[in-house]
Amino acid sequence: MLDDFFIRALLAGIGVALVTGPLGCFVVWRRLSYFGDTLAHSALLGVTLAYSLEFNIALSVFIISALIALILINLQKRTNLPGDALLGLLAHSSLAVGLVVIGFLSFIRFDIMGLLFGDILAVNVNDIIIIWIGGAIILLVLKYIWKSLFASTVNYELAEAEGLDPDKAKAIFTILMAAIIAISIKMVGLLLITGMLIIPAAMARNISNSPQQMILFSVIGGLLSVIIGLFTSLEFNTASGPSIIAASLFLFILSLLKIKQSIKLKN
């Protein structure tokens, strides 16, 4: 039997997967997985802010994540610390500050597990609307910056020299990252969002020959992960986020069979 909440979860998950598919490919291509993690961790701060100011969660997470991204870019210019150290610094400190703030907000009941790992029960009609409208906007913007973003992913100087605008594309892409985290946080939880971005994309890499194909397989992989994960979650009463990510891992392992074959063929 499919319950209403399950249909809602499915709709939300499908909406998220349609967007994480293409964005995840760029995360993998541009080596941004730890960057995505940092933004996701900072989302906790956004959630606490939303609760204490009685503000929309997705919007609040989006603002905080975008802010953290700006701080990161600024720190990169000002210090000589390596990028991964800065990312770690921001990821863990924003997570820690978020948890400390939750401690102060003792008058509000938090479902911390739900925040960290996602909660299908929490998805309401409002969330679905935000996911689908937000998702559509993200995809439209991505299409708009596609040429510059993709060309500069291949080679920054080539894109810059031949009249594209890689810096603008990069800045907009950063905002899109914050946006996808904001709309998918309820679904997958903030510890696992990056998994939703990179695992289907990594799976897709193993079985594709062209960028378009990789994006297509990444979307399909994400959709399958959501469907398999949610059914498992319903059946075994497991948290939705981990179930979805585990399903995507399963697909990734399957894709390794294909890559082994093609390596064999080459030799």
Partner: protein, 248 residues
């Protein structure tokens, strides 16, 4: 033709500093339609930097750059494609422009690599990749071509053919070319104007003028100078008193 002397890019006293160190300084040059300007100079003399200044890749520069065209084809000195990005030659050809399939095939056939069209970029050899890079740059029929060591890693016969091709392209498309090369032989046979760099402009002018220049001799040695003189006899043009080149 009235457009023959159209200036495509002009550097006025341009320079670029990175980490408090000048990579290149005080460079003035211009590339005109239908002309080939070649930058020569030892390693680290600022050739690639000068090209990047001309292309607008470096923005915080000294001096001025004036660019009069947006139709630019660029072959960078170094480019590496990550394994995580599955990219076939034909995808790569479409990187910065919309081209139809025929245009792509034509450009690839000019550099002799049509057969690589469906291959993955990661599977190409250095020389093959270089030919694809050149094909991509010319496929969009640019007004300005900037070629940074375009034939590196290409076999000897291929090298000569590609330089012939570059010369032919500048005539066919009537585009301006800013070429970086350290192969003095080949460079000199096709170039209209040579700029010799060593952190600044050592000397510049027609190939023959540069070859006779003392600073050039000091930089490259007497033998290099003789190499150029030998070339003089193969030229099909004469040099006017202002150092301009006139075709016979």
């Amino acid at each position: 033709m009235s457009f023959e002397n159209k200036i495509l890019v002009k550097l006025k006293d341009a320079g670029f500093r990175f980490n408090e160190k000048w990579l290149v300084q005080g460079v003035s040059l211009q590339v005109e339609k239908g002309k080939i300007v070649t930058l020569i100079g030892p390693n680290g003399s600022g050739k690639s930097t000068t090209a990047k200044i001309a292309l607008g890749i470096y923005k915080k520069i000294e001096g001025e750059v004036e660019k009069y065209t947006n139709k630019i084809g660029y072959v960078p000195q170094k480019i590496s494609i990550d394994w995580t990005l599955p990219l076939r030659v034909k995808d790569f050809m479409l990187l910065t422009d919309h081209l139809d399939d025929r245009t792509i095939s034509e450009a690839l056939s000019l550099t002799g690599v049509t057969h690589l069209k469906d291959k993955n970029l990661g599977d190409l050899s250095g020389g093959e990749f270089q030919r694809v890079l050149l094909a991509r740059a010319i496929s969009k029929k640019p007004e300005l071509l900037v070629l940074d060591e375009p034939v590196q890693g290409v076999d000897f016969t291929g090298e000569i053919a590609l330089y012939e091709l570059i010369k032919k392209i500048s005539e066919d498309l009537n585009c301006g070319i800013l070429l970086i090369s350290h192969d003095l032989h080949t460079v000199m046979s096709a170039t209209d104007h040579v700029v010799c760099l060593n952190g600044h402009v050592c000397c510049s002018g027609s190939p023959i003028d540069v070859a006779k220049n003392m600073e050039y001799k000091a930089l490259f040695g007497e033998q290099a100078s003789q190499t150029l003189s030998i070339y003089e006899h193969k030229h099909d043009h004469i040099h006017t008193s202002e150092g301009k080149i006139k075709k016979n």
